[in-house]
């Protein structure tokens, strides 16, 4: 049955409607307002930052496995450099990899396409958002090379250590780090406004709330969650910057300030932040599973409702990061209750995703492998969080490698597995060629298997009492004997890093390939697959913008000759 889609047209806007007919290199690549180009800018930047963050991990894990020995490609790792490496590894991975890749890159690319619009509602603010983001990325990298070195107070930047250059010895780096983070926040606030308003207003005619793909819901809910949680931290960051540079005493107990105030401000944002990055990743996973299981979602509305419930509840759990920080011990009881309760909607969300597999016809393409491994891996991250959310057990496990392993078992599925799932799924649409499936599968296994061998040893180390942010465990007699676990983790990391070369090779080959990708290689229902790969400027001809007749998950509808039913096909 023929789809009522547009014929591929080179220039969809005619000569004068947008004035983009002859775009010079500068306007097309650097100064573009096209959401697809901006998406790519975010994507390449975040991939670059991921490489930087990954190499930082290589260096500090080499120090941990072989303490005091020169790391190939870096040299000896001093305690100060170790602290700067772990601080910036964490900051970069969260703020300059996970957020831009999952939200800014894929949000920018997919939202207009999936809702049948020709761009975001504010293309110039979109461009400005990326430019601010780029400046923040340059700043965070620059901060590593200033006098004193990169900031070494952990990504959580607790004062008084972070507030006083005499304590942290990286005063300039600390302030530049803080400004970089603040600018990143501004970029995402602006971007978020664009996403939210675009979804609210610019949907294709006929697209009702429950016809919106889950990916779009998740990115927009995440944007709202980010916006409403980051404000107090921005206020707190201004206060910290003033402590650092103007010698105010907001966080100085000697002058009436309170270091724990920062912790509250940070984690009031910090906890919602993990859901800010989780929701988009889960959105991709859900859409990919629907496509490759050829199945309607088991509970589309439940998925949206539990996402909203999780987002709301996430405002009430923050102090589980501070159980033993010196807060009133009675408060810990409140937060342990809220923290354990938040596991309920997330568990339901995961159950509903797993239930979607029932009755399906599952194709194990590379994107599907990534999406499925997200579920399997995130489950481990999620359940290990319970040990930390229970106040009594957190007494022992706080600040140990158990925490580290828990959050890598959540962040890695979110950022890396979710990132590769999105990348391999939408690559044909974005770039117009196909990635090689065999190389894709080799890369997949070469990533997820070593990953287990990095972090399962770390759970063991944590249970054994090993604390975080320490550059050499040979100083602790009780921990020295666990060195084989540390070496295992490091070697596994090196193997995983090497397998990423397979990904880059695959990418390089495909980008240079002359073979064109079809419009809808995966036979999916959503609107982005109804326009050429890659879509032209404006996505569809202005007089042929799509209309929507049904939801996005009408797969395997009985009594039809195809097992998919695009949203824009009239009944």
């Amino acid at each position: 049955m023929a789809q009522a889609t547009t014929a591929p047209v080179q220039d969809t806007h005619g000569h004068d409607t947008h004035g983009h007919h002859d775009q010079g290199w500068f306007k097309k690549y650097f100064w573009s307002t096209d959401h697809k180009m901006i998406a790519k800018q975010y994507l390449w930047t975040s991939i670059f930052m991921a490489v930087v963050g990954g190499l930082m991990a290589y260096v500090f894990r080499m120090q941990l496995a072989f303490p005091g020995i020169e790391v190939p490609g870096f040299g000896l790792v001093s305690p100060g450099e170790y602290n700067a490496l772990i601080t910036n590894h964490g900051s970069i991975m969260i703020f300059w990899v996970a957020m831009p890749m999952l939200i800014a890159a894929w949000g920018n690319f997919l939202i207009p396409l999936m809702i049948g619009a020709d761009d975001m509602v504010f293309p110039r603010i979109n461009r400005l958002s990326f430019q601010i983001f780029l400046i923040s990325a340059i700043l965070i990298l620059a901060s590593l090379f200033v006098q004193g070195g990169g900031f070494g107070g952990a990504w959580t930047s607790y004062p008084p250590l972070s507030a006083n250059p005499e304590y942290n010895l990286t005063g300039l780096g600390a302030s530049i780090w803080l400004i970089a983070v603040a600018l990143e926040f501004v970029a995402f606030l602006l971007g978020g406004i664009n996403f939210i308003v675009t979804l609210m207003n610019s949907r294709a005619p006929g697209m009702k709330a429950y016809d919106i793909p889950v990916t779009v819901w998740m990115i927009v809910i995440a944007s709202i969650l980010f916006m409403l949680s980051v404000g107090p931290l921005i206020a707190g960051a201004i206060m910290l910057l003033f402590d650092q540079t103007l010698n105010t005493g907001f966080y100085d107990p000697a002058r009436g300030g309170d270091p724990i105030l920062w912790q509250h401000l940070f984690w009031f944002f910090g906890h919602p932040e993990v859901y800010v990055v989780l929701l988009p990743a889960i959105g991709f996973v859900i859409d990919i599973i629907a496509t490759f299981a050829r199945k309607k979602l088991f509970g589309y509305k439940i998925m949206v409702y539990t996402a909203v419930a999780t987002a709301v509840l996430s405002f009430f759990v923050w102090a589980h990061h501070q159980f033993i920080a010196g807060i009133d011990p009675r408060m810990a009881n409140v937060f342990t209750v809220t923290t354990l309760l938040i596991s309920v909607p997330i568990a339901e969300l995961l159950f509903v995703i797993i239930a979607t597999l029932y009755g399906g016809s599952i194709k194990f393409t590379t994107p599907m492998l990534w999406a499925l491994s997200f579920v399997a891996t995130f489950l481990i991250g999620g359940v290990t969080g319970i040990f930390l959310g229970a106040s009594g057990s957190d007494i022992y496990l706080h600040d140990t490698y158990f925490v580290l392993a828990h959050f890598h078992y959540t962040f890695f599925p979110i950022a890396i597995i979710g990132g590769f799932a999105a990348f391999t799924y939408w690559f044909p649409k974005m770039f117009g060629t196909m990635l090689d499936e065999t190389l894709g599968k080799i890369h997949f296994w070469g990533t997820v298997i070593p990953f287990q061998f990095i972090f399962i040893p770390l759970f063991a180390l944590g249970l054994g009492g090993q604390h975080r942010r320490i550059y050499n465990f040979q100083n602790f007699p009780e921990l020295a004997s666990m060195q084989p676990l540390r070496v295992t983790a490091t070697l596994a990391l090196i193997v995983m890093i090497l397998f990423q070369l397979v990904f880059f090779w695959n990418l390089f080959r495909s980008l240079r390939s002359k073979e064109k990708a079809p419009m809808n290689p995966w036979k999916a229902n959503t609107l982005e697959w109804t326009t050429p790969s890659p879509p032209p400027h404006g996505n569809w001809p202005p007089d042929q913008m799509p209309k929507v007749y049904r939801g996005p998950y009408e797969y395997s509808v009985p009594d039809r000759d195809t097992d998919y039913w695009p949203q824009n096909e009239p009944s």
């Binding site: 602290n83 607790y158 159980f323 010196g326 009755g359 399906g360 009594g392 022992y396 054994g464």
Partner: protein
């Protein structure tokens, strides 16, 4: 290395370990069920030429049950865990038993300073014993520690006790422990405090009554405050 969990040198270490075990059992059960179901489903419903995918709306009651019942059971398990957690937390952090001895612990960049009350068992008297990085306590005795910091945040952590508490400048936070076996164990700083965070290793020396008494009399001549 799992024998570490067997090193329980304090009265509440067993309670904390018990809670960890409870969580491990409950959570482990759900984990196995969920992962098991997941892997079974992707095997059972892998693409096969003779098998078409089904159109399931999610409103089917007999299928919804498979989600709503586990969902409710998870909530029940959470309640058990909450009760366990609150109990342990109360015993360790909220309710401090009467102390036999009070000590002071101060973290600084980058060492631990301990003030022992000396043979008269009173702090801030002439026979107090000051040490750096080595803490000396008597087994089977209930101690309160008054914890603070000179500069940045530190954290007094004794894994063998399962004890951990942030040291906050400008505040004195009191905690307790009751050592149940003699030995020497690690003290780690559990809050990043600068470039020396990794070298703030301390040692807690748990002595029997006799040894401890002779240690005290040998060292109690220190009179000047630090």
């Amino acid at each position: 290395m799992f024998e570490r969990l067997a090193i329980q040198a304090s009265s509440f270490a067993g309670d904390i370990d018990g809670l960890i075990l409870l969580i491990a059992v409950l959570v482990g059960f759900w984990f196995i069920v969920a992962e098991g179901m997941f892997f079974w489903l992707i095997w059972r419903f892998r693409e096969r030429p003779d098998q078409k995918s089904q159109y399931i709306t999610g409103k089917e009651k007999h299928l919804k049950r498979w989600v709503t019942i586990p969902h409710a059971l998870v909530l029940v398990c959470d309640v058990f865990i909450i009760i366990g957690a609150v109990r342990v937390w109360y015993d360790v952090k909220q309710h401090l038993p009467e102390p036999d001895t009070v000590i002071r612990v101060e973290g600084q960049q980058w060492a631990w300073v301990f003030q022992h009350p000396g043979p008269d068992n009173e702090l801030d008297t002439g026979d107090d014993i000051w040490t750096t990085d080595d803490l000396y306590v008597e087994v089977d005795r209930t101690y309160h520690f008054r914890l603070s910091s000179r500069d940045v945040l530190h954290n007094f952590s004794v894994p063998a006790f399962r004890l951990k508490q942030d040291a906050v400048p400008g505040r004195t936070i009191t905690g307790w422990f009751h050592a149940t076996s003699t030995g020497t164990y690690d003290i780690q700083c559990a809050e990043i405090c600068g470039i020396g965070h990794g070298v703030m290793a301390g040692r807690i020396n748990i002595q029997d009554a006799e040894t401890h008494a002779s240690w005290m009399s040998e060292n109690a001549t220190t009179t000047a405050a630090q």
